[in-house]
Assembly symmetry: C2
Homo-oligomer: 446 residues x 2
């Protein structure tokens, strides 16, 4: 598997003259990012994009670690056989047109050959992989349409390619860092469980996000994920929860989705955190990435907007979490009155400045009744300065308690958000996003 | 009330020399936006910001329609009396320090005077108003910290000032247009019901969004909102749903929140759409703004990402909505095979181009079994061109059926989104946002 994610040399098979064709897009992207050796395979051309073309991998003298295949489905097996002859045991098959359109025999034939010859294949019918550490990138979209997320510590396995694609673009926009992304499509002989196992050993992966519609080998999946989830959190969204959506699943990746309740029970038993939406998946992941374990479920809220404090409280209680009952209330009151209302939430009111936040946070973090701190900051109010980022960051460094910020707003907000997240503080747009993530963090650590 | 939202002249009482003080911020903002006459009231200065200062409104010879008051709480009543003498019957009292900090008598005294003298007051303890048509803006935040949303057809009433503030900033960033915003604080003698009534007659308001924590006069609220909701949708988020959050409410605006179930029942009876989050409030509002009434609850999904189609289907079924069963399946198949899977969702697959979308949309909209169309567009895929915006826009113009787009992504996505929304098509980041909004649209039209 390491040859897939960390090859020293790659052959792209099916590089077209046309700039918009799949193989060519992949080749161009790799040319820019990949630091190892890159070979261009096209039997009809002498050179493409300034690079020599080989008619087959067999004509390349040097050793090749991995091949990306982007040619019509019917020709795939022949090319896989050539790869085997050349000693390439790891391939990424982008090509669609297998079991997902009913060509089960073609896929079985492919699987049979791969298995017998000790080869592994990502796909077919997939986008392949993006590895921000080895710079392997087989996504067939140019960066102007699909911006790649920066280097980070989340990895994301997706059965759906297009969804994966859109989500990567979104993550890049949110400034969320990624270690590895895999779109595995029909999973001919490497499946979600194998990727989980591999990622559990990847030192750059702290949290594993999974979108899947169906699992072929349930026992294997449960066995592996039970082990992996003890080491690293697995945050999972299941697509195809109803009979009708299962039908759509069938035509999408050629596998049956199965009953949603059975899946949910299996996920729970395996220590997997199942989420209800894409947003919740990455909101949860960015909190889990911080590796802070809350001792309990008691939350202290600090706010400069009364209404936001109330909405956040509603979300805490709706999720059966608890509000902490801070013990050093009088101490805080002395320092913050008359401006603040010292309860839970501590409402610093619209007049709050950086110093008021500092006092309230410092005292709350010291308090034994506080397990998790949720700080609402509406930086639109005039008394808040840019230095508040440093105050939050220093407080966060000094504490083992999870520290989460809620901020709603526009452009100027975005600047605060980016700076806080650079300093390892997860920031959420709305109260429900933050509290859902905290609920999942507690679930994982129970 | 029209003197509040549409005055010909305004006096700002309490304009400070210091640029960061509330009265001064309001004065500077009005100086830039307001086209009518503006008077600066400060008893200690001769001129501020190049404008003559008057010691009192009584020293101004011309007629004044409205006054914004930003002076210490204890002095407010005297100034209100001066306003009355001057014939100013409408005031916006920004000043805090009344019932929200236990000074109930001070607030009662104010109310008494206002009522007896036939005056009306927004506030106290509020941000006041923003009217994008008359350019009245009493928000005490400079536009570099709090960008104002553009002109539009949503109005927003908020009991919480800071929350309102943050949300306006967010709306400006999302390119959502606003007609009027009111932060009404303690609602001394004009309350949420009065604003609802006023907005129901405002020709620039198509949908009314409300954030509230408590209603003092429940009968009045139900009577008015029942009438208003027949004319215009009211989308409401209630803060303070639990006993604990009610306590926070008490200290926030000085009124008791009451049982959440009682409120929910009353909202339902009054035709109000109650939502669960700020995001859902504005997602719902932008769909209702289009004024398209679905004939039923049957949804057709069209997608170029199989996984996204499945996630959307899950959301449709979870919300007890129906998937349509299109009748002209064979016709579409003829035109779209082999690339597409023609079911519900119609999966155009990653190879879909603009023309495939056109065929699928055209045929779905013609189909009698389709009440609402949900189009998923992942524009990161190479075969999608920018012209697709025009195709969607033309289709949307020709149909009375609600037409909604789901798009996830980053920067390049944002450009598509803005263009589509300019052409009156609501665009959602994620499937659950879109389907929740559709559920609310159907609820309103039932």
């Amino acid at each position: 598997m390491d040859k897939i994610f960390n090859p020293k040399s790659i052959a792209v098979i099916g590089v077209s003259k046309s700039k918009d064709k799949v193989g060519r897009v992949i080749f161009e992207n790799l040319k820019k990012t990949f630091k190892g050796k890159l070979y261009c395979i096209n039997p009809h051309e002498k050179s493409i994009s300034g690079k020599k073309c080989y008619t087959s991998v067999l004509n390349v003298k040097e050793k090749i670690d991995m091949a990306v295949i982007a040619i019509p489905a019917l020709k795939v097996i022949d090319v896989v056989k050539e790869c085997n002859k050349k000693g390439i045991k790891s391939v990424v098959i982008i090509t669609a047109g297998f079991s997902e359109i009913g060509k089960n025999n073609l896929e079985l034939e492919l699987k049979d050959y791969l298995d017998k010859n000790n080869m592994i294949a990502v796909g077919p019918n997939c986008l392949g992989i993006l590895d921000n550490y080895s710079n392997v990138d087989t996504l067939f979209a140019y960066p102007d349409k699909l911006k790649r997320p920066k280097k980070g510590n989340l990895s994301f396995i997706s059965q759906s390619g297009a969804a994966g694609c859109a989500i990567l673009d979104m993550l890049s926009n949110n400034n969320t860092g990624i270690s590895k992304f895999v779109s595995y499509g029909n999973a001919v002989n490497v499946d979600e469980s194998d990727y989980l196992k591999y990622l559990s050993k990847d030192k750059n992966t702290k949290v594993i996000c999974v979108y899947l519609e169906a699992v072929e080998d349930g026992k294997k999946f449960m066995k592996i994920s039970r082990k992996v989830s003890k080491k690293k959190p697995i945050v999972l969204l299941k697509g195809g929860k109803f009979k009708e959506s299962e039908e759509a699943t069938l035509s999408h990746t050629g596998s049956m989705a199965g009953s949603s309740e059975v899946y949910s029970a299996a996920f729970k038993q395996s220590g997997i955190i199942e989420v209800n939406s894409i947003r919740e998946m990455f909101d949860t992941a960015k909190l889990l990435e911080k590796k802070k374990k809350p001792k309990g479920n008691k939350i202290q809220i600090i706010t400069n907007g009364g209404g936001y404090g109330i909405i956040t409280t509603d979300n805490v209680l709706k999720n059966n979490l608890k509000l902490s009952n801070i013990r050093n209330k009088e101490k805080i009151k002395k320092k913050l009155l008359p401006i603040a209302v010292v309860k839970n939430p501590i409402d610093l009111t619209g007049s709050a400045n950086d110093e008021h936040y500092k006092i309230a946070i410092e005292n709350s973090l010291k308090d034994k009744d506080v397990d998790i701190l949720v700080v609402i900051l509406l930086p639109q109010l005039p008394s808040i300065s840019k230095n508040i980022v440093n105050i939050f960051s220093n407080m966060n460094k000094l504490t083992k308690k999870p520290f989460v910020v809620i901020m709603t707003g526009g452009e100027s907000n975005k600047i605060y958000k980016e700076k806080l997240e650079e300093k390892d503080i997860p920031v959420y747009d709305f109260p429900n996003d933050a509290i859902n993530s905290i609920k999942n963090l507690i679930k994982y650590n129970q």
